[in-house]
């Protein structure tokens, strides 16, 4: 490292960095983080590229290298297949399904963008900085951004957008992410191009929530009228939504006033599908160029097809198998452990995903998270499972019903679990519902119980969980005693404390310390099985260039082109 770089880094640590930034640098210099993990954390807390480069040089790591983008051809219209269609209107704060997420995000942009390596890069904000305990985050906005209406983006637009996102009465689907983190009063304009977020509690991962991982957080003009997203182009992205027919498709044209310049494609023709076979045949029959999401279980014809490219993104999307811990038969941790021990996870991964998934170890700490501590993997062990059943007084087994719904590979996983637990005498029947029936009923949340909905109130079930950039929501909502989606009805005060500590921890060293303890507690208590974390897969024709899958399933086309 040359003298100038050292001087720059020391100046930064002394004059600009607060405790949060210094904690990240300390983690690097103490070898708590490797290069990739440091870059991820550094981008989250708002380090500039030059500071990241200086820190890496100081730590003796290779400096930042920027890959040259794949050469882009200009022009042409991309034919995009999207499965399933949006379930309702396109007001961004109400997005709750893949169809909305895909459609809205082709035109919309956020303050920050999370890359599929979980680094955070600037989008509509150019920089962001925490105060000393990460309870206030101040964002500086990009000055050259014009909405597709022609208005310049200013702090008022960002404030209005975020107030709507965190308002409990707005119907916002982002509330689950912001609950306990940010309230409407905490969103404040500092000046025309600066916004401060005063958090309900310190949160070192807050920038993720303002990034593309909160796919509802599309910045809209302050005078945005609800219900008009699909009628008037008014986002900031590379493409304008010019027509939309619910359940059928949408048309996008290039937005020439985009702050980043000119996207290679002239436009995008989006077509909705509600059947896997139809979308797969459309790709094979050259009627679409790209499909947002494919699954190995239903799209085998695409794998190893010479005309098709598979796009894959490593993420934390998973299936959760919660077992209700407050009622027989799963109120004994030994029974729950026994069930978990019957699963042959590598075989499940191979059968359902052709190995395009990480094996889970019965905690939400997916391998992709930097804080995850690798504990010994839980393997199939029928002998031990039988011993546990006997110790719990259930040597002869019992009968139980597993509930899930008909989507993706969920019924196939249900059948695998059903046949696996036979080995320890459990007679499992399956109840495969429609999505509407599975999520029907009330779900009040603590302290009023969990209502009547099957997905939170059946002895054992399977629910699909989307990817997140940090495991916070998994811990607080699905496992903490007062978690609103605590389908296991799991209650462990030690776990609750550890989860809270994990969320508040700033340094990676501390996060890992709590993560390890959480993983150990969960492996012992086994309130839920996490069989795998699967990769987000998309499929496209060979002519598609410059496209990358997104761990959350969004489709970003601003750099995509056609050969």
């Amino acid at each position: 490292m040359d003298r100038e770089t050292r001087r720059q880094l020391e100046h930064y640590r002394r004059e600009e960095a607060g405790p949060v930034e210094n904690a990240v640098l300390d983690d690097l210099f103490d070898a708590e983080m490797d290069r990739g993990q440091f870059i991820r954390r550094a981008t989250v807390v708002g380090f500039s590229a030059s500071i990241i480069a200086a820190a890496l040089a100081a730590a003796g790591e290779a400096e930042l290298a920027f890959a040259a983008p794949e050469a882009a051809g200009a022009g042409g219209r991309l034919r995009l297949g999207c499965i399933p269609p949006p379930a309702h209107g396109l007001d961004p704060h109400t997005y709750a399904d893949t169809g909305s997420l895909v459609t809205g995000n082709i035109a919309g942009e956020m303050l920050l963008r999370t890359t599929n390596r979980l680094t955070v890069i600037p989008e509509l904000a150019v920089s962001w900085k925490p105060n000393k305990d990460a309870s206030i985050w101040t964002y500086t906005l990009r000055r050259s951004v014009r909405f597709q209406t022609g208005q310049t983006m200013r702090a008022d637009d960002v404030v209005t957008t975020f107030k709507r996102l965190v308002d409990p009465n707005s119907g916002s689907q982002a509330l689950s992410a912001f609950k306990g983190v940010l309230s409407p009063a905490g969103v404040r304009k500092v000046d025309d191009f600066t916004v401060a977020f005063h958090l309900d509690a310190p949160n070192a991962s807050f920038p993720y929530l303002t990034s593309s991982t909160t796919y509802q957080a599309i910045i809209l003009p302050a005078n945005y009228a609800l219900g008009t997203y699909e009628k008037t182009p008014q986002a900031t992205g590379a493409f304008k939504l010019v027509s939309y027919t619910p359940g059928v498709g949408a048309t996008f044209e290039r937005y020439d006033g985009w702050w980043k310049g000119r996207a290679p494609l002239d436009g995008v023709d989006l077509k909705y599908f509600s059947d896997d076979a139809a979308v797969i045949s459309a790709l094979l029959g050259n009627q679409i160029d790209l499909v947002n999401e494919i699954h190995f279980s239903t799209g085998r014809a695409l794998f190893n097809n010479k005309n098709v490219k598979i796009f894959s993104a490593h993420g934390a999307t998973h299936r959760l198998v919660p077992m209700k811990t407050d009622a027989p038969p799963f109120n004994d941790y030994r029974i729950r452990q026994a069930v978990a021990l019957t699963l042959d996870r590598p075989a499940i991964r191979k059968r359902l995903f052709n190995n395009l998934a990480d094996v889970g170890n019965d905690s939400p700490f997916a391998p992709v998270f930097p804080a995850t501590v690798k504990l010994p993997q839980r393997h199939k062990d029928i002998r031990k499972a039988k011993e546990l059943m006997a110790a719990a007084g259930k040597a002869k087994g019992f009968s139980v019903q597993l509930t899930t719904y008909k989507a993706f590979e969920l019924p196939a996983l249900a059948q695998i679990i059903q046949s696996s637990v036979k080995a320890i005498g459990i007679n499992m029947t399956l109840r495969i519902l429609t999505s509407a029936a599975y999520y029907a009923g009330s779900q009040l949340g603590p302290p009023d119980g969990w209502g009547t909905t099957p997905w939170l109130n059946t002895p054992i079930n399977i629910t699909d969980w989307g990817g997140r950039a940090v495991p916070n929501v998994y811990l607080t909502s699905s496992l903490q005693s007062k978690g609103v989606w605590n389908a296991s009805h799991y209650s462990n005060k030690r776990f609750d404390r550890l989860a809270a500590s994990f969320v508040a921890a700033i340094s990676l060293k501390d996060k890992r310390k709590y993560a390890k303890q959480i993983e150990e507690v969960l492996l012992h208590d086994t309130p839920a099985i996490y069989p795998y974390f699967y990769f987000q897969l998309g499929g496209g024709r060979k002519r598609v260039r410059g496209y990358q899958a997104d761990p959350q399933g969004a489709v970003y086309l601003s750099r995509t082109s056609l050969a």
């Binding site: 269609p85 379930a87 309702h88 209107g89 109400t94 709750a96 399904d97 409990p168 009465n169 119907g171 689907q173 509330l175 689950s176 219900g227 027919t245 619910p246 359940g247 059928v248 498709g249 048309t251 023709d269 077509k271 909705y272 599908f273 509600s274 059947d275 076979a277 139809a278 979308v279 045949s281 459309a282 094979l284 029959g285 050259n286 009627q287 519902l433 429609t434 999505s435 509407a436 029936a437 999520y439 029907a440 009923g441 009330s442 779900q443 009040l444 949340g445 209502g451 909905t453 997905w455 609103v484 989606w485």
Partner: protein, 317 residues
């Protein structure tokens, strides 16, 4: 004739009223609720309750029914609870699409199967008869999703002669649209050919052995004239009835075909509405299909009565 038409119209109104009650009741029995389906599984209960209140889903069932049916008879199908746009704006396109698909399928299957049935009857017991009958029966026995996938793979994926998705791009002309609809229409031809051809064959055989046919021959008329003027007119009466009863299926019952060919037909609209408990869309969609079905059977009855004076003059006896 006027009395016959008036009676049929009155019966149609009663049928539609009963249908409206049944579809409304069925919509109430669907699992889930509108608020939860629109806002998603992770929305909090207060937001769900608020939305249910806003769309009126928490009102007494009878109030909901009368409000809906009163608006419907005035031509207002209401707003889609799911998409917050007028139901008619979505159903109208889907209905037109379904009618187009049904028209192309009819245009292919009706002449083909009548020709097949008559040809089989004229060569009763011979190789051609057996070939037509067995082929028709075999095709009918194959579920439509199997024949559809076969057609998609063969003509859409391998040889790439025809588009695998039936929904044409905007601005496509009528000939282009017919090309997009060819594969799903062929799938329907495969399903319906055997049934209609069998009816046409049976009717023709019966007419061929009738006294009036023998009399026509004895008068010295040639075979083509006898077939055209005496046999077909009588033989096709049951076939018309069969074709009319298939209209409801071809308009509203093509969910599998619409899904496999990704076609925005009314079957798929109704299915998605049922999945999401979009009751205004579901009820209006089903009632609309019911109206189309009744109109088709009404037209068939009229045609039947024109071809068969016994019906006209004997009222509906």
């Amino acid at each position: 004739m006027a009395r016959f038409v008036a009676k049929r119209l009155a019966l149609s109104v009663v049928t539609l009223f009963i249908l409206s009650v049944i579809v409304f009741a069925a919509a109430q029995l669907l699992p889930g609720n509108v608020g939860r389906n629109v806002l998603g599984p992770f929305a909090d209960q207060a937001s769900v309750d608020l939305l249910n209140h806003q769309v009126g889903a928490d009102r007494p069932v009878l109030v909901q029914y009368t409000a809906w049916i009163w608006k419907f008879v005035q031509g207002d199908m209401g707003q889609s609870l799911q998409y917050r746009v007028p139901v008619w704006s979505l159903l109208s396109d889907s209905l037109v699409n379904s009618l187009k698909l049904a028209a192309e399928a009819f245009a292919l299957v009706v002449p083909l199967s009548i020709l097949g049935g008559v040809a089989a009857a004229l060569r009763q017991g011979r190789l051609a008869d057996r070939a037509i009958t067995i082929t028709g029966l075999s095709l009918t026995a194959i579920p439509e999703f199997v024949s559809a996938i076969f057609l998609i793979v063969a003509f859409g994926v391998f040889v790439k002669w025809l588009p695998v998705n039936a929904q044409w791009p905007e601005g496509t002309g009528i000939l282009g649209q017919m090309k997009y609809l060819l594969l799903p229409s062929l799938a329907l031809v495969m399903v319906l050919f055997g049934y209609i051809a069998r009816m046409a064959r049976a009717g023709t055989i019966e007419a061929l052995s009738a006294d009036y046919t023998r009399t026509a021959y004895l008068k010295g008329l040639g075979t083509p004239t006898v077939i055209r003027r005496h046999v077909l007119r009588n033989a096709l009466l049951p076939t018309i009835a069969v074709i009319a009863t298939q209209t409801g299926y071809l308009i509203g019952g093509l969910l599998v075909i619409e899904k496999l060919f990704n076609y925005n037909g009314i079957g798929q609209r109704i299915y998605i509405a049922a999945q999401n408990k979009d009751v205004t869309m579901l009820q209006s969609g089903v009632l609309l299909v019911g109206i189309v079905y009744l109109v088709a059977t009404f037209v068939a009855d009229l045609l039947y009565s024109v071809l068969n004076p016994r019906i006209r003059f004997g009222s509906t006896e």
